[in-house]
Symmetry: C2
Subunit: 369 residues, 2 copies
Amino acid sequence: MTHARLTPLAQSLPATVPFVGPETQERAQGAPFKARLGANENVFGPSPKAITAMAQADTWMYGDPESADLRAALAAQHGCTPAHIMVGEGIDGLLGYLVRLMVGAGDTVVTSAGAYPTFNYHVAGFGGVLHTVPYAGDHEDPKALFAKAAEVDAKLVYLANPDNPMGSCHPGADIAAAMDDLPAGTLLVLDEAYVECAPEGTALPLGWDDPRVVRMRTFSKVYGLAGARVGYAMGAPDLIEAFHKVRNHFGMNRAAQAGALAALEDQSHLHKVQGQIAASRNRIAQIATDNGLTPLPSATNFVTIDCGHDGPFAKAVLDGLIARGLFVRMPFVAPQNRCIRISCGTDAMLDLLATALPEALGDAARTES
Amino acid sequence: MTHARLTPLAQSLPATVPFVGPETQERAQGAPFKARLGANENVFGPSPKAITAMAQADTWMYGDPESADLRAALAAQHGCTPAHIMVGEGIDGLLGYLVRLMVGAGDTVVTSAGAYPTFNYHVAGFGGVLHTVPYAGDHEDPKALFAKAAEVDAKLVYLANPDNPMGSCHPGADIAAAMDDLPAGTLLVLDEAYVECAPEGTALPLGWDDPRVVRMRTFSKVYGLAGARVGYAMGAPDLIEAFHKVRNHFGMNRAAQAGALAALEDQSHLHKVQGQIAASRNRIAQIATDNGLTPLPSATNFVTIDCGHDGPFAKAVLDGLIARGLFVRMPFVAPQNRCIRISCGTDAMLDLLATALPEALGDAARTES
């Protein structure tokens, strides 16, 4: 009876989840994970000043629907105005608003095969038609993405730089150059969630008023506030203004607003975490190499490891790690799914990885033979 | 250029905000409010156990996308199963998901003229057509709402019990009886945000499997966690399941989940706050009476005061209170806009009200004459 009342689009959608959460897996297996290395969270944690700010927030009050203090601080950091910035409930929430604004039934959207599934979830959820192009090796392929966008007259084209799940990146200048071929009717959704982990020069070197692109940033990764749900979109003011048409104006958690502001102001903690991430990436790469596997270069807070065989083999390795209490994930589609993806962890967590990986590889080899 | 890319629906929407936040008003006036009595927040605050739980949350981790612990505790309290419950980013967020699921372009929806504007915002945002019926006196009119729903073949009909902005309520049994005339194709959206402030018997006395209704509850009011953004919808499992098609699966703040759970478990704090709210309502009513105004009976955490004249007069009183540093609000439409609405406050805040109200009334009388 209920389902008859849903819109035709809603009726057609599956009850889905882009990612199964680690807590769901823990409940299914009846035991907690020993190491949480699957969601590209920041185990090194947020600034202590952010923790204090969140603890001191007066949570009986609604948050400021304009997130004015945070937007002012972000504008100062990025050299733009608050009108260039929309704060929202993580990049996931902002992607939902953006797709809703731009994509109606039958509208076309382009992304890479195997790129961020939550974006695809939103496109499907608003009736959009998704076209994909393959990765070029282990990189997303801006040239092919923009050519496909022209071919299918896409409203949006999604590109993550650095990329998840492969950890690769392009110099921002290369993306800017490729944008010469971005069709006039297509908006580039540039997901820079991991940009603070990437080499200098990865961020897109174009002005904030450029109408061709909206950039997505987050406090969930290097800032260590995944559970707070604070992301922001940056773009030309008329685009940013459009979010006010559809967003949940009182959707921001008040403590999260205060925590993000404090985290932003503690750049020395950010630099410390960047160092911890770099060291952890090196350790993961070393563990991979020690086991005869190939770590891919990473511009993110995770390392994608080529297991050297096909998807089922990598899946067997993944299952072996999960069975040993390590929460890890892997790419969804071929050929990226020859890999597993390990988020940066503490030394103790990576000790567990170093122990479990050869065992999991042994399991996988036995499964194969 | 950007706006040409928006969907036709998005192009047609205004960049709007259902409520102007108090922080926005403070920035405009260049001074903070002395008393925050306009958003029906709970100035008495959440359980100290909730504050501790939020402070101890590991915010580097994403929240559990299933909110499983919280849903289990809510199910135990309400005598249903977790499958009857969807936790979301406040009732506002859940209303957005519900409207998205049910309402497409041109679909009809019914509410009361002057009822919750954020619901109307979502209906407009998904292209729905809103029909309204007047209040019956100071109460929403279930019989008229359901008759209008039948007349216009509504997908949804919205009813808040207790009501905001008037503070009135119906016995739940009366609404259940009125539902005999709810059309088969119409889902009742019963907003029970304030039900924990209301007399025994206000909650709808129907089973959780009833497919005709979805009930909305929140931790923003009596539980004192407005800034945490935790609401929940309760309904038949197949309806609740549909939320998974469109919701932001990782949208919940992890600390907020923990805080809501701790707040729920501290029912003695809830009872204490209920007493504080009752006392504060009495004090507000007394202040109104002392000034020759008529306080309406309240089943909520605010008191709506009939200023005895028309909308412009009440607006002048409101402006006088705001000019004296009190954040208060008033109903949007006639005839409810003969009133102002005062949220429960501490004794110190209500002392300010007692001082400011006669002055504001004097201003308003001079404006009138």
